[in-house]
C-alpha cells in the first residue's frame, strides 16, 4: 500500500457521503429485525388499543387516532435517533467519523434521511392499519396523512440528533423525551383545543413545531381536498426540522475536551 500524493487522492462526490451514512443506518436496522418489527407493529397495536377504548364513540377515535398518526412516529424517531447518536458518541465511532472527510452536515442529513425513510414505512403501515382495519375515517386524502406523519418523523429525528448533543449517557438521553416531546404533545391541541388554552400557553403552543403537524392532520380530518393551510403547516414542520438539523450541526463539536 503506497502513500498517494495529495493531488491524486480520491474524493467522495458531494452527496455521496450523505448517501453512505443513510445506507449504513438502514443496514444497521436490517441487522436488527426485532427493532424493525417494533417500529412497524407497535404504533398499529397502540392505535388498536385506542380503537377498543372508544368503541362506542367512533368520532372520538377518528379525532384522536388521526392525531396519533403524527405523534407516534415523532416520539419513536426522537427516541431511536437520540439513542443511535449517543451510541455513536460513546462507542468512539463519532470521534473517528470526525477525523474522516465526512462533513458534519452530511452526517446529520444522512441520519435524517435514513430514519426518515424508516419512518415513512412506519407511517404507511400505521395509516393502512388505521384506515383499513380499524375503520378510522377522515375527509381528506390519505396521501397527505402519510406525508404529514413522515415530515413529523423527520422532525423527531432532527430533534433527537440535536438533543443527543447534550446527553452524556443513555439515562440522560431518555430523560430528554419527557422534556422535549411531552410538552409538545400536551400543547398541540389534542388534549385541550388551542382556543381554550390560556394566552401564555397558546403562545408556547404557537412556537412548538408539533402543533403544526397536528393542525395539518386536523385539516385533513375536516376538509376533503388539500388546503393551503395544510401546505403551510407542513412547511412550518419541515422548517422546524431543518432548524433543528442546523442547530445540531452547530452543536456537534469536532474538538472535545
Amino acid at each position: 500500500m503506497t502513500a498517494i500524493p495529495t493531488h491524486a487522492r480520491p474524493h467522495a462526490a458531494p452527496g455521496a457521503t450523505t448517501l453512505a451514512v443513510t445506507a449504513r443506518v438502514l443496514r444497521q436496522l436490517r441487522h436488527d429485525p426485532r427493532t424493525i418489527v417494533l417500529l412497524l407493529v407497535v404504533p398499529s397495536l397502540l392505535l388498536g388499543l385506542m380503537d377498543a377504548l372508544w368503541t362506542g364513540q367512533p368520532q372520538v377515535f377518528d379525532r384522536v387516532g388521526l392525531v396519533m398518526l403524527a405523534i407516534f412516529p415523532f416520539v419513536v424517531m426522537f427516541l431511536v435517533t437520540s439513542i443511535a447518536m449517543l451510541r455513536e458518541r460513546t462507542s468512539g465511532t463519532l470521534e473517528r467519523l470526525l477525523t474522516t472527510p465526512l462533513p458534519r452536515p452530511a452526517l446529520l442529513l444522512g441520519y435524517g434521511a435514513g430514519f426518515g425513510l424508516a419512518a415513512a414505512v412506519q407511517a404507511a403501515v400505521t395509516t393502512a392499519v388505521g384506515f383499513g382495519l380499524l375503520g378510522l375515517e377522515t375527509a381528506g386524502p390519505l396521501g397527505w396523512v402519510v406525508l404529514i406523519a413522515m415530515v413529523d418523523a423527520v422532525l423527531g429525528v432532527a430533534l433527537g440528533l440535536l438533543c443527543s448533543a447534550f446527553a452524556r449517557s443513555e439515562f440522560q438521553a431518555v430523560q430528554f423525551m419527557p422534556v422535549v416531546v411531552l410538552p409538545q404533545v400536551f400543547l398541540c391541541g389534542l388534549l385541550v383545543p388551542r382556543e381554550q388554552m390560556a394566552g401564555w400557553l397558546q403562545a408556547i403552543s404557537d412556537v412548538l413545531p408539533l402543533t403544526y403537524a397536528v393542525d395539518a392532520l386536523q385539516e385533513v380530518g375536516s376538509s376533503s381536498a388539500a388546503t393551503g393551510r395544510m401546505g403551510l403547516d407542513l412547511a412550518v414542520v419541515a422548517g422546524g426540522a431543518l432548524l433543528a438539523l442546523v442547530l445540531a450541526a452547530a452543536t456537534l463539536r469536532r474538538r472535545t475536551s
Binding site: A3, P10, H11, R254
Partner: protein, 241 residues
C-alpha cells in the same frame, strides 16, 4: 526531509487537570514512532490532538505542513482509537465499505484492507460476534483502506496474542517502507524495541525522544523497561538539582 508531525509547546487541560505540559517534538516521515508511557500518561490525549479532535489550551500541532485536523488532512491522516471504533451491528465488510465510501476509494480498496488485516474469512461476520483482537483489526482495516500518509494508532496491539502482535508490527514496518508515517502508542515497554523512534511520555511530560539504540546507550542498559525507569529517576534528580 521535513517532519511529518511537528508539535510545539502543546498544553492540554482536561477539566481542571493539566494533562500535557508543553510538549515539543517532531516525528520523522516514513518511520514507525512509538509513543510509550504508562496508562494515564497522556498518550491518548496527545494522539487526539494530532488528529484534531482534542480541545487544546495552547501550542501548535502541524501535520504534513497543515494545522492538525484541518479539512485537507482528513483524507491524508488515518486514526484508530483505542477501543475498536467500528459498528458492532454491521459486518466487517459493511464497516470497511462504509468508511471507504467516506474516503471515496471504492469497495475494492475496502475488501483489500480487510484481507490485509487477515479478516478475509470473517468479512461476512457481524463485528459484535468477533473476538476483541479481530475487532481491533477490523477497526485498523477501516483506517488502512484510505492509504493514509500518516497513520495514528492508539494501542493497536492490546489484547492480541503474541503471534498476531508480531504480524501487526511487521505490517506497520511494511507500511513505513512505502513511505507511510506511523505513530503507535503502547504501554507495553517490550514493544518499544520494535519502533524506529521512541517518545517516552510520563505524567504529561516528554522524558525521551530518541531511537531505541540511543536510549540504550544513554541509560547504559539493553532492557528498555529498565531504561525507562532510569530515565524517570534521571528526571527526578534533575528536578531536585
Amino acid at each position: 526531509m521535513d517532519a511529518a508531525v511537528t508539535v510545539t509547546d502543546l498544553v492540554v487541560d482536561r477539566g481542571r487537570r493539566r494533562v500535557l505540559h508543553g510538549l515539543s517534538f517532531a516525528v520523522p516521515p516514513g518511520q514507525v514512532t512509538g509513543l510509550l508511557g504508562p496508562s494515564g500518561s497522556g498518550k491518548s490525549t496527545l494522539l487526539r490532538a494530532l488528529v484534531g479532535v482534542q480541545v487544546v489550551r495552547s501550542g501548535e500541532v502541524t501535520v504534513l505542513g497543515e494545522p492538525a485536523g484541518s479539512t485537507p488532512l482528513r483524507s491524508r491522516v488515518g486514526y484508530v482509537t483505542q477501543a475498536p471504533s467500528v459498528y458492532a451491528d454491521l459486518t466487517v465488510r459493511e464497516n470497511a465499505r462504509f468508511f471507504a465510501a467516506l474516503y471515496g476509494v471504492g469497495a475494492a480498496a475496502a475488501d483489500r484492507a480487510v484481507a490485509d488485516v487477515g479478516l478475509d474469512d470473517a468479512a461476512g461476520q457481524l463485528v459484535r460476534d468477533l473476538s476483541g483482537g479481530q475487532m481491533g483489526r477490523a477497526s485498523l482495516a477501516c483506517a488502512l483502506l484510505a492509504a493514509p500518509e500518516v497513520l495514528v494508532l492508539d494501542e493497536p496491539t492490546v489484547g492480541l496474542d503474541p503471534l498476531l502482535r508480531v504480524e501487526l508490527w511487521n505490517q506497520f514496518h511494511a507500511l513505513a517502507a512505502t513511505g507511510t508515517t506511523l505513530l503507535v502508542s503502547s504501554h507495553v515497554m517490550d514493544e518499544a524495541g520494535r519502533c524506529d523512534r521512541l517518545l517516552l511520555l510520563r505524567e504529561g511530560r516528554l522524558l525521551a525522544d530518541s531511537t531505541p539504540a540511543e536510549l540504550r546507550v544513554r541509560t547504559g542498559t539493553d532492557d528498555l523497561e529498565e531504561a525507562f525507569l532510569r530515565v524517570v529517576r534521571e528526571q527526578r534528580t534533575g528536578v531536585r538539582a
